[in-house]
Amino acid sequence: MNVVAAWRNRARALRGEFGQCQACRRYASVRRTRCARCGHTMTESKTVPLPQRMRAAGYSHRHTVVEVMDQSAAEAPFMLADGGDGQLFAFPLCESDARSGPLLVGEELELVLRRSEGELSPTEAIAYRRKLAATQSTRAKLKSQTKAEGRKP
């Protein structure tokens, strides 16, 4: 882990802020001279908070390491989510929703701050990162669906 880079980006990452093109409102996670969508200059662009709610557009998870069959222990789910104007964002899905990952596609998610995965030594500070999580209403909807289908939530 690059400690200096993590520290440099920490505040912005924790706040969940990206740069934004002043012309087309497209978000950019890194500084560029021009917007990747419309080509408008971004030298004057400001960082703005990311949309708090997004619609899940896709699901995947971290690769399997076949040599050690390390699938379940290190499985890290990821969601692709639509921020509202068609722009897609890829974020980790919080652990509590991991089992529902594929069912969440099409549902509303919220951007939250959650503990970062990984082993920590007793002297290390707990790290946090932005993740996506199912909203209360999404959880309630999935629960009622699974109940109706007679499955375990």
Partner: protein, 346 residues
């Protein structure tokens, strides 16, 4: 531009060479091409040297091991498409008349790493400053494949057919039965909807290509090399499924028409599918032949050297096509290189 001919190709088949170092691999691949040759320039694609062997300036190591001191010794880094960048440099130098004979070498020594770290090598092709969300290459590829299936109203079967077709071409070479796409779908899930077979295996290897401007009959010549780049962060592109870098590279390499034979190298089947789509947008027609020996899916992938192995496939082949387009794609379409080869005297 002066005409640039491929005077020779020599490669070590991709494998796990546990007893050979990176320098040994380079020696074994390049030495057979050196006899009686006066090398003016050396271009190297050794993108795994810095992260795996902690070795900066791999081109100097190659020149040292081979006992060469040419006018130009240059390393090229374009991640897993580095051979494309090295070849583009060589073609420009030769075509402009600055040098007469150039050696292009691509090599990778990755079997020193565990599987997890070999996959981390691919993760490093993503924009590390934008990668604050800690998504791996495989996970991004899985999300991209999911988007492709949604947008094209297809399913993962269409992706499996890419792998299956490559493995089928390879099986023709080695005389073994190839798995069907239905069988491939039952492989271990790596990043849904992608399975393990969708990712070509990363192996050790080295390949050297000797290029010259001296005229020769009945040989392959490099007619043009095109390159293109795109926003590295996949989801910040205007259209993540468009693979604009491939369109630019192919447009730069062709003279209006696409050869009927196309060789494609990518790190994952979804990238090959999107590369084929991008070529189709430029060409308007599908090529007759894609990956004569199954490309990297068949033989295995030597990180950053694939384009040179494709040259080997082309030169060894007896297929009666007058021209070929060889395309290599870095990461998930952040960069691409395309080389058009023609058979002289046809």
């Amino acid at each position: 531009m002066r005409s640039v001919a491929v005077a020779g190709v020599h490669a070590l088949p991709p494998d796990q060479y546990w007893s050979l170092s990176l320098g040994d691999l380079i020696l074994a691949a390049a030495t057979p091409l050196l006899s009686g040759q006066d090398i003016d320039a050396l271009f190297c694609a050794l993108p795994s040297a810095a992260p795996v062997q902690n070795q900066a300036d791999g081109a100097a190591i190659a020149a040292d091991r081979l006992g060469l001191s040419p006018k130009i010794v240059q390393g090229a880094d374009a991640g897993d498409a580095s051979a494309g960048a090295a070849l583009q440099l060589a073609w420009q130098f030769l075509g402009s008349g600055a040098v007469e004979t150039a050696l292009v070498i691509g090599a990778a020594k990755t079997s020193d790493l565990g599987e997890h770290d070999r996959q981390v090598l691919l993760d490093r092709l993503l924009d590390q400053e934008a990668d604050e969300n800690a998504l791996s290459y495989a996970a991004q590829a899985g999300l991209l494949a999911g988007q492709y299936c949604q947008a094209r109203t297809g399913n993962a079967e269409r992706l499996a057919s890419v792998t299956s077709s490559n493995l089928s071409a390879w099986s023709g070479e080695c005389g073994r039965a190839a798995p069907s796409s239905a069988e491939l779908r039952r492989d271990l899930v790596v990043a849904p909807p992608l399975v393990r077979s969708d990712f070509p295996q990363l192996l050790d290897g080295a390949c050297a290509v000797l290029l010259t401007t001296k005229s020769a009959r009945d040989c392959w010549t490099i007619e043009s090399v095109g390159a293109g780049s795109d926003t590295v962060s996949l989801w910040e592109r205007r259209d993540p499924l468009a693979f604009v870098a491939v369109e630019k590279a192919v447009t730069g390499a062709i003279d209006g028409t696409i050869p009927a034979w196309v060789e494609i190298d990518c790190g994952v089947s979804i990238a090959q599918r999107l590369t084929e789509d991008a070529i189709l947008r430029v060409a308007k027609t599908k090529p007759d032949l894609v990956n004569i020996r199954g490309g990297s899916h068949g033989r295995g992938r030597v990180f950053g050297s694939s384009l040179l192995y494709q040259f080997g496939d082309i030169i060894d082949s007896r297929a009666s096509f007058p021209s070929v387009l060889a395309v290599t794609v870095a990461g998930l379409g952040s960069r691409a290189f395309a080389a058009r080869l023609g058979k002289s005297g046809t």
